[in-house]
């Protein structure tokens, strides 16, 4: 009985899928309407949406569509972008309610003929689609996102110090080093939305990235940086950061791994001692 039912449902689903495909084939999108959030509070302009129709091709990205609108329909649209290839991290915005990179979201992958674009949540608003990243960058700055190594000779420039890493050493932090600081995770985080001092997924995963790097010799200091009232413990593992990251970084994982070290059930295999040994061999 149940098997028959399952079979019936499956055939129905298949039929439905087929129909959907046909529908999509029949009517390829040749134009979409951008529903753009507009506001310039400093100039006394209150928030509203502008609807602008733009022609699209199969490969048109939301950024392309916005730039078309800006070039031919309304030059005053405020938008920030640079690379157009998902590497500068400046075109983040909410597309149909979800934080995404405009240059990395094709119009064809979105449903419907209307696309809503809004500024990122959790960032102070500047104008239209542009938000203020100072606080986000300050949080990043606070976790000291650079390698600190007592053994590296910073004075004698001629003497090169090489810190060899095995592929396993690199694997521990590699995915976190792909972060482009686009702020999508920060925008998706429910804790950031209420706790203004919470560093957010980007900064916390970078804290882990440098903590676990075998070339870094300041793991204790790094733990102290995030172990406070508004620090790493205010993450409740919603996981929305990881689902919106356009670069495949899993900030929620970084946070959980770093917590393991803070609670003392993960050990950081005496990186410093290992480094000293290596240095001795080199000398």
């Amino acid at each position: 009985m149940t098997e028959q039912l399952i079979e019936k449902i499956e055939t129905m689903e298949k039929k439905h899928e087929k129909q959907k495909h046909q529908r999509e084939k029949e009517y390829p999108k040749s134009s979409v309407t951008l529903k753009i959030y507009r506001a310039n509070r400093r100039a006394g302009e209150s928030p509203h949406y502008d609807r602008i129709e733009v022609p699209v091709q199969h490969w048109t990205t939301v950024l392309d569509a916005l730039l078309y609108a800006k070039a031919y329909k309304d030059q005053s649209i405020g938008i920030r972008y640079s690379c157009r290839m998902a590497s500068c991290g400046s075109c983040g915005m909410k597309i149909n309610g979800i934080p995404r990179l405009a240059c990395y979201t094709k119009v064809s992958e979105l449903q419907g003929r209307e696309i809503t674009v809004e500024p990122l949540s959790n960032f102070p608003h500047i104008r239209d689609l542009v938000t203020d990243f100072s606080q986000f960058f300050a949080h990043h700055h606070n976790v000291e996102p650079y390698i600190q190594n007592d053994n590296a000779d910073m004075q004698e420039k001629n003497k090169l110090t090489e810190f060899i890493q095995t592929p396993e050493d690199v694997d521990k932090y590699l995915q976190f080093s792909y972060c482009i600081k686009c702020g999508l995770c920060y925008s998706a985080c429910p804790t950031v939305a209420t706790d203004t001092q919470f560093p957010g997924p980007q900064a916390l995963s970078q804290a882990y990235r440098y903590f676990i790097d075998s070339r870094d010799t300041a793991p204790k200091e790094r733990l102290n940086l995030v172990d406070n009232r508004h620090g790493i413990w205010r993450c409740h593992f919603a996981g929305s950061c990881s689902s919106v990251c356009p670069k495949g970084v899993d900030p929620a994982l970084g946070i959980q791994l770093l917590r393991g070290h803070l609670l003392g059930y993960s050990k950081n295999e005496k990186k410093a001692a290992e480094l000293k040994e290596r240095q001795k061999k080199d000398d």
């Binding site: 100072s134 606080q135 300050a138 949080h139 700055h141 606070n142 804790t191 209420t194 706790d195 203004t196 001092q197 919470f198 560093p199 900064a203 102290n224 940086l225 172990d227 406070n228 009232r229 508004h230 620090g231 413990w233 205010r234 803070l262 609670l263």
Partner: protein
């Protein structure tokens, strides 16, 4: 920019325990509370029908049973610690200012102590009631 750069930094606040130590206590009390509450519920349904266990004589009789009192007291302490710290966490995320945060810390610690004291008082009084 200077003031922004100090956000979330290791700024000195009213602290006796590190946040990681507090949260370790939070998780340990949660797991321990799960265990003692399970034992407590099991004892309520295993010894006699649930309705009967709520009758006056039976309730008082429970308070004469020393191991059972220890169990009740540990539930009280564990859930108070965990619950009030949970409340502290929720309130800390609500608003950020030194005044608010210090207030939250003081209030939750006071609430925790008051609840444990009141519960312990109930246990002691109920324990004394059966002795005639």
């Amino acid at each position: 920019m200077e003031h922004l750069c100090s956000l979330g930094a290791n700024n000195k606040k009213m602290t006796m325990l590190r946040e990681s130590q507090i949260m370790k206590i939070h998780y340990i009390t949660a797991v321990a509370a799960l265990f003692v509450v399970a034992v407590h519920i099991m004892m309520r349904i295993a010894i006699m029908p649930y309705g009967m266990s709520l009758e006056y004589e039976n309730v008082i009789a429970n308070y004469q049973n020393i191991p059972y009192i220890v169990l009740l007291e540990s539930i009280l302490v564990l859930v108070s610690i965990h619950g009030f710290n949970g409340l502290r966490v929720i309130l800390l995320e609500l608003r950020q200012s030194k005044k608010w945060e210090d207030g939250v810390t003081v209030l939750t610690i006071a609430g925790m102590i008051a609840l444990v004291a009141y519960g312990t008082r109930t246990i002691i009084i109920a324990n004394g009631l059966g002795v005639e």
